[in-house]
Symmetry: C2
Subunit: 320 residues, 2 copies
């Protein structure tokens, strides 16, 4: 596979990309027609769209095309899992410069395919156009398998807050990469390729989760959306977080309290959910706080106090 996407042309590129795909029994009609057809056994379909732009959401010098594919897919598939649904399909809207080597979108597609497979889904279609900046728009679909969707608005005072997946690993990896290092590898890898706990999403729906979201902007920020939607206050317990030694070491090396990464680091796409108190939770869920009656802002506190450095990103903010 040689040359640029401009040399290969639109139809050649589409052929190259679709030739890499695999399918699942849910895919009734894959790429190549006006639209794809996917089963929706539940008679409802869950759908979410995310957009990633080079230089903003990923860097070609930090991540391979394959890793960007894995990460782009993961981010969107996690949204489906966070509703309590099983991912079924991905659609890709891709903008690529004409001078980009064909290997880049090809390896991106390999990454999308493999991450979809981890989640049980398949890439079923998309669109490729030429433009100056690599832009990746992904839509993920999923099936609720008879469960009610788990929204952000169902948390009730008295519920416990529990999390599953990695917390702060991507942020720690980002801190390492930003300073020009390539290790510790586990954290760099976590930044390049998050591992959302897909199966925990539908399982949480089965466990009676009252609310759920995936952590993309940071735990405190994303729980802020839950608190706002549910009209409750959420208090987290700092001691409930288990900071890995290696993460503490990185924190010392770069002068950052690692709890900051855990509480405000996004992109690990862990799942945070609320459950009725007393509900028996599998070991993968760690209880980190509780839901309380609404009070004045801030709606999310740590040990009863505002988390001063709490954040998340405003993608249009000027300080980025």
């Amino acid at each position: 596979m040689k040359g640029t996407v401009g040399e290969l042309g639109e139809f050649g590129l589409i052929r190259e990309l679709t030739s890499r795909l695999t399918t699942t029994p849910a895919v009734r009609l894959g790429p190549g027609d006006d639209a794809a057809v996917i089963t929706a056994p539940d008679r409802r379909v869950v759908a979410s769209t995310d957009v990633l732009i080079e230089g903003r959401h990923f860097r070609r010098d930090w991540s391979t095309a394959y890793d960007v594919g894995r990460k782009s897919a993961a981010q969107n598939l996690a949204d489906i899992a966070a509703m309590g649904a099983v991912p079924t399909a991905l659609l890709l809207g891709l903008v690529v410069p004409a001078e980009l080597p064909v290997t880049w979108p090809a390896e991106l597609m390999d990454g999308l395919r493999d991450e979809a497979q981890v989640a049980g889904a398949a890439v079923v279609g998309g669109d490729v156009v030429r433009g100056d900046v690599i832009t990746i728009a992904i839509t993920a679909l999923g099936d609720l398998q008879g469960h009610d969707p788990v929204t952000r608005s169902g948390a009730r005072p008295g519920d416990v807050v529990a999390v599953t997946g990695w917390l702060g690993w991507s942020a720690a990896g980002h801190a390492v990469l930003s300073r020009g290092f390539r290790s510790p590898r586990a954290f760099v890898e976590a930044h390049r390729r998050p591992e959302p706990p897909y199966q925990a999403g539908p399982a949480a729906a089965g466990l009676g989760a009252t609310s759920m979201t995936d952590i993309s902007d940071g735990l405190v920020a994303d729980l802020g959306h839950v608190a706002e939607s549910s009209k409750v206050r959420i208090d987290l317990h700092a001691a409930a977080f288990d900071i890995p030694t290696q993460m503490s070491d990185i924190g010392k090396a770069v002068g950052v309290d690692p709890l900051q990464w855990v509480l405000t680091g996004g992109e690990d796409h862990a799942l945070v959910a609320t459950f009725p108190r007393g509900r028996q939770l599998p070991a993968r869920w760690r209880v980190i706080g509780e839901v309380q009656a609404m009070s004045a802002t801030p709606q999310v506190t740590v040990d009863g106090k505002p988390w001063l450095a709490a954040g998340g990103w405003d993608h249009f903010g000027s300080d980025e």
Copy 2:
């Protein structure tokens, strides 16, 4: 509504955009959560994604934001109709520069909403990020209502080829605009805001259409995909096309055979389908040719001969 999207910020912009939306009974959960939930009564969902970029697929000096919204939605909703499905939902991935006035994405959203409404669908979610070039990635979903999907691969020798919707109007409008004119208004409007015959899609599935596609790259080019997928040859009859007098007049004025626009003009998003010979078709369908056994290329001919100027676009071609 004043200021730029950068001043309003990500969450402010999302609030502004979602406040403009309407809903339908198919929308179980709209924007504001990790994902939307839409009914899929047929137990299958039809899904298609398209990407439009400023300067490439639309121009802000030629089209209002509202018209770009109508057109972007139409293009994608037509793909759903072309499968024989009823559109249910749109998701929007939007890239906007920070310095863009908020009115632009707001009016874009109005256009998306209104076109979705024409097709019976609703905008249910999306993502907005900051970037240098306005980029619009739309995913449309639809329901087959018990019909088999009408693909591009089912045309059989002996079938008739029929079309419904506008042909060449957008291309004639483009020719007018390219020369700095703003009239005849009907053609300019057709370019700015196509009117796909949404209801004809599911109706064609009910009429037993053997293949169908929407015309986005031009009739000859899109029928080429049908011929290739169905392994047949398609012959069109030039005399079957009714060229409006006004289109002929524009052709004379700009030195273009208007049949060229009819045969190769895309973006009207008319529907072209094949039906078993003898099938009684409603008046909205005009028979324009017939399906024959496969032969050497070209697979699509006009009165038995290759259409020399036949085209469509290769979005990565260098001559654009």
